[in-house]
Symmetry: C2
Subunit: 229 residues, 2 copies
């Protein structure tokens, strides 16, 4: 593996897991030292992450973990609806019975992972990816995957807040049944509802947490806590 890739993986994992929260400043030299590499490959990894929307170059091109406002997140969910509707619609006419068996198995796995939110999300995303793969639109799948990734840290915040949160298992069974019916229209509405529900919960939660409202101001980044003038 190249140094660039190592930096990419480290940073991406840090951001997606929430270990590097939104607004965190990233120091290329520091990251490089952590991996025993120079800052050049880190710099390149940051460029890639910026393209994916996970990192933003702030004032003076200093890299920070992207901060999303509830409005941003709502927009991303709306885009997901448009994209996943299409993917679901196309997939619905291309599913085999073997696919349905795989998806059932995946739902089982999700149920069994239930207490572990991160594990559950992993399996949940894989469940959707399995469906969208059947749409045979690789760029569409990739786009969906990327948006889901961008929102993930905020979804984790939401789930972490409600430890005893009940995952919408029933919704997925419903979605699967709609797909089994073979009706593209029903598949589309099912997935639309599914995403809209998640969006509503997450955005409502974030607005009450005041996430990404004051933090959007660069001056209030948490990194500044140490030197209070």
């Amino acid at each position: 593996m190249t140094a660039q890739n190592a930096a990419y993986e480290l940073l991406k994992d840090g951001i997606l897991s929430g270990r590097l929260p939104a607004g965190s400043q990233i120091n290329p030299v520091e990251v490089g030292a952590q991996l025993g590499i120079s800052r050049m490959p880190v710099r390149e990894a940051l460029l890639q992450l910026e393209a994916e929307g996970l990192v933003t170059f702030g004032l003076n091109r200093r890299p920070v973990v992207t901060t999303l406002t509830p409005k941003d997140i709502l927009e991303l969910f709306e885009i997901r609806i448009a994209l996943e509707s299409l993917a679901c619609e196309r997939a619905s006419t291309r599913m085999s019975s073997a696919d349905f068996a795989d998806l059932e198995a995946q739902l089982g796995r999700m149920d069994r992972a239930m207490p572990d939110a991160r594990k559950w999300i992993e399996l949940h995303d894989a469940f959707h990816d399995m469906i969208y793969d059947r749409a045979e639109m690789p760029r569409l799948s990739e786009g969906i995957r990327q948006i889901r990734q961008t929102v993930r840290p905020y979804l984790l915040m939401y789930i972490d807040a409600y430890k005893s949160f009940e995952m919408p298992g029933a919704e997925h069974t419903g979605l699967l049944n709609m797909l089994r019916s073979g009706s593209p229209e029903q598949a589309r509405t099912a997935v639309t509802e599914h995403i809209r529900n998640t969006a509503a919960s997450v955005v409502y939660f974030l607005m009450n947490q005041n996430v990404g409202t004051s933090a959007a101001n660069p001056n209030t980044s948490q990194q500044l806590e140490g030197h209070k003038k």
Copy 2:
């Protein structure tokens, strides 16, 4: 302007204008020399262009201009339909009369640019951007812009082939009228039709040209074209 940006602009313009056709190998040293800079900023520009889909790193990570098959292009058009439908729908409820006046003016400008295909496309894209800006979904607008960009070289090939090609001016007036009616559903169907028409023409043309079928993949010498040379 930074060296990285200069390289980015040069390469992007080259690709979008068709001066660097699909499959062209890009030599970072060469590009750097052309701008009086080293290959490092060029390398970084290439990373950004890869993220946008305009450049691909081929065997041994050598950068080449991305080659799209007709299938890829069809997929991109389908995604555009999903995204632009949403944008149009949202925009339709947010348009002011001043916006409509601006759009009318833009249509006039497009008509007057008529013989110059590149100029026309520029104005045409701006016309659509003006509408989508009203959707107030910046990421959506950006995504649409990016996909349109990716397809542009192929659209130009199509237009260049039919010099006397009649631009679909009437369709845009129709779209504008649908927007004026204020019905999101009608706006959605109008833009869907509009894009689908373009997609059909361009993809049909490209398939007959055998663009990106055998040349795209050195391994596969398949010919998918309907022998209509």
